[in-house]
Amino acid sequence: MGLTRLLALVRKEFLALFRDPKSRMILIAPPLLQLLVFSYAATLEVRNIDVLVLDRDAGRWGAELISRIEASPQFRSVRHTDDPAELAEAIDRERVIAAIEIGPDFSRAIEAGATADLAVILDGRRSNASQIVASYISSIAAGLAADTPAGKQLAPMHVQTVTRNWFNPNLDFTWFMVPGLVASIAMLVGLLVTALSIARERELGTFDQLMVSPLRTHEILTGKVIPPILIGFFHITLFVLASVYIFGIPLRGSLLALYGAAFFYLVSLIGVGLFVSALAATQQQAILGAFLFLVPAMLLSGLATPIANMPGWLQILTYADPLRYFLVIVRGVFLKDIPIAEIIAQTVPLALIACVTLPVAGWLFRSRLE
């Protein structure tokens, strides 16, 4: 049948996409920019911490604690105050995320081998970051405790915890985020390109021209599916190169398996895009429809927060999210060299999603046309 026809259609789609310099730009510059900016921005690490200290202790242990905090790389500045009101104000206005209050008996208690008390006040408005700050302060304090007279006595029987970080020895957050962004930015672009392709033709009236041409519906749809797949592969390639050469993330698994899985990922997304496109009457509706899918798909995928933290009924919803599966694959292939069996196990649901969305989109087209 019409391989020439199909090729002509694909060429036409590419021309429509790349003719306009502005939309050409939209396809290349922003995705790369997003990858660069967001990879560095999206970190749940806490660094450059500012703390305020209210030190009522005259002895050396209070001063020792402060100097250990100052020396810790996560802390940027340690300010001092004598005024509890200033402490409250600094927390209220978010000038510092934490304040440490050292009582007058601090050094005396330590020297006497008794338990010394330390109060840490944290800004609960940023409860995630402040919990991390609290854990930093606790571990610094634990180090100090080990050097106190009472601590030294206990030291040899003290149980240490020795940590080994597999796959990411320095727990570098970009190693976690960049593969995730590769998957999600590819989704963003792939979905929008597909969702808009038919809506634009509808708005311009060229879709009717296509329909009266000798092309069959499935040929038109195939012609609409191929360009976004190629663009998706182009983006994924670009992002993989950036991940390895700009961010220095190890690529430990099979690139071939990644591309194989990416094919099913893109097809499943394009199915969703066509579905949106079939429902939308205008470009604006298509963009909004795509957006309505994208936002939940990203938030529920495990991109930034683990799926295990979600309530059970919401976890069920995440099974319909293509990004959820591809995220496991991309992260696994990059960092862990996950076994092929695991990649296949994650690819099957992607293929299933595609098997549902593509025929439904095709059916919607026919029913809206006739």
């Binding site: 978010e94 010394a116 909004l288 938030l299």
Partner: protein, 376 residues
């Protein structure tokens, strides 16, 4: 003079009425102003949670003695872990590779003897570095569980195992619910959607269809035209915000400790740069597709990622911290979180509002110039 002024007011009112009719008629504005905010709020209320739930871990006891069993019992009792017990670390290696567990905790052979002889006993923690956040939590809670266990043992032998006791007080959000700061933050995102995305797309459509030029041909001035556009979307933004605040307080139980006046003053100040940005984008692109892309790129995503909403600005590299300074949401979100959780902190609010209004005026000025130029 007065009749001239009255004429102007009437014209403006007529424009506002026309625009309001368009909003109500257009399904996409309902979608952005009502449906999307509801979805976002639900997702942030239920779906996105930074609170650590129980993490599944594998606990490997390389020797089984009363002491190691006692330690294992402490891990089982921990509310942070969901423990599976094994006797060989290789049993759990595949689980860690395939992310079924967050870490492997190993109590090595010889642990009991080392502990008894005070030869620096150690517990080994192997975590999945591919997920650094969970890795940190597993590491931290393991150390915490071990030291609680030690303190219990020491207390049995009348030793002081805690030379230092830290009392942590989390102000404003003692239950440490991430929902309490995510839901107020998402309200800023909703206002960005209405102010920037919706406004830019609607006005870009008018440019596309030529109705903008048609309006220009009437006696209406560029000022009046833009004001006529802005007022309805300003009100729509406030309406969306009110809806979200209602849901946040009554459905999600986020405390509201500040005043309604502060809430509306802050929101109104934030809508100025949001609307200004929307106007500017539409005047520059005059194309719906590009306008929506630019609005998402310069409005939605930065409000989401560069505003301190989820990710701490202080932790970002310096160049990105500088970029975040021109993201209006950065100035709103801390104040909005404070109105909910802390109460009215006017010095902080006034500073944010001044910056936001300043941004708004600059953006409006550029947008008006761009609009006027298009016509000339």
């Amino acid at each position: 003079m007065t009749s001239y002024r009255r004429g102007r007011a009437r014209r403006l009112l007529a424009l506002i009425r026309k625009e309001s009719h368009q909003i109500v008629r257009d399904p996409s504005s309902i979608l952005i102003a009502l449906v999307l905010p509801l979805i976002l709020l639900f997702l942030f209320g239920y779906g996105v949670s930074l609170d650590t739930a129980r993490t599944r871990v594998g606990l490997v006891l390389e020797e089984t003695t009363p002491v190691t069993l006692d330690l294992a019992a402490s891990f089982r009792a921990s509310r942070y872990f969901d423990v599976a017990i094994g006797h060989d670390r290789r049993d759990f290696a595949d689980d860690l590779v395939e992310s079924r567990i967050g870490g492997i905790l190993v109590v090595p052979a010889g642990f009991t003897a080392d502990l008894a002889a005070a030869r620096h006993p150690a517990v080994q923690v192997i975590v999945d570095g591919a997920d650094p956040n969970t890795a940190n939590f597993v590491q931290g809670y393991t150390a915490g569980t071990v030291s609680t266990w030690e303190a219990q043992r020491a207390a049995e032998r009348a030793l002081n195992a805690t030379p230092l006791r830290i009392e942590q007080r989390f102000w404003f959000n003692p239950e440490l619910k991430s929902r309490n700061f995510l839901v107020p933050g998402s309200i800023a995102i909703v206002m960005t959607l209405v102010g920037t995305l919706l406004t830019s797309m609607v006005i870009a459509r008018e440019w596309e269809r030529g109705t903008m030029e048609a309006m220009m041909a009437t006696p209406v001035t560029a000022w009046e035209l833009l004001a006529g556009k802005i007022v309805p979307y300003f009100l729509l933004g406030l309406a969306s915000m009110s809806l979200c605040v209602g849901l946040a307080v009554f459905l999600f139980g986020v405390p509201f400790r500040g005043s309604v006046v502060a809430l509306y003053a802050l929101s109104a100040a934030f809508l100025m740069p949001a609307l200004g940005q929307g106007l500017l984008i539409s005047a520059v692109t005059k194309n719906q597709f590009l306008a929506s892309q630019l609005a998402l790129l310069s409005g939605f995503l930065p409000s989401f990622l560069l505003s301190g909403f989820i990710f701490e600005i202080n932790s970002m590299p310096l160049p990105i911290q500088y970029i975040s300074m021109i993201v209006p949401a950065r100035y709103l979100i801390p104040s909005l979180q404070s109105v909910f959780l802390a109460g009215d902190i006017w010095p902080m609010f006034l500073r944010s509002m001044l910056i936001l209004i300043g941004f708004g005026l600059v953006l409006f000025a550029i947008a008006i110039r761009k609009t006027a130029k298009r016509i000339a």
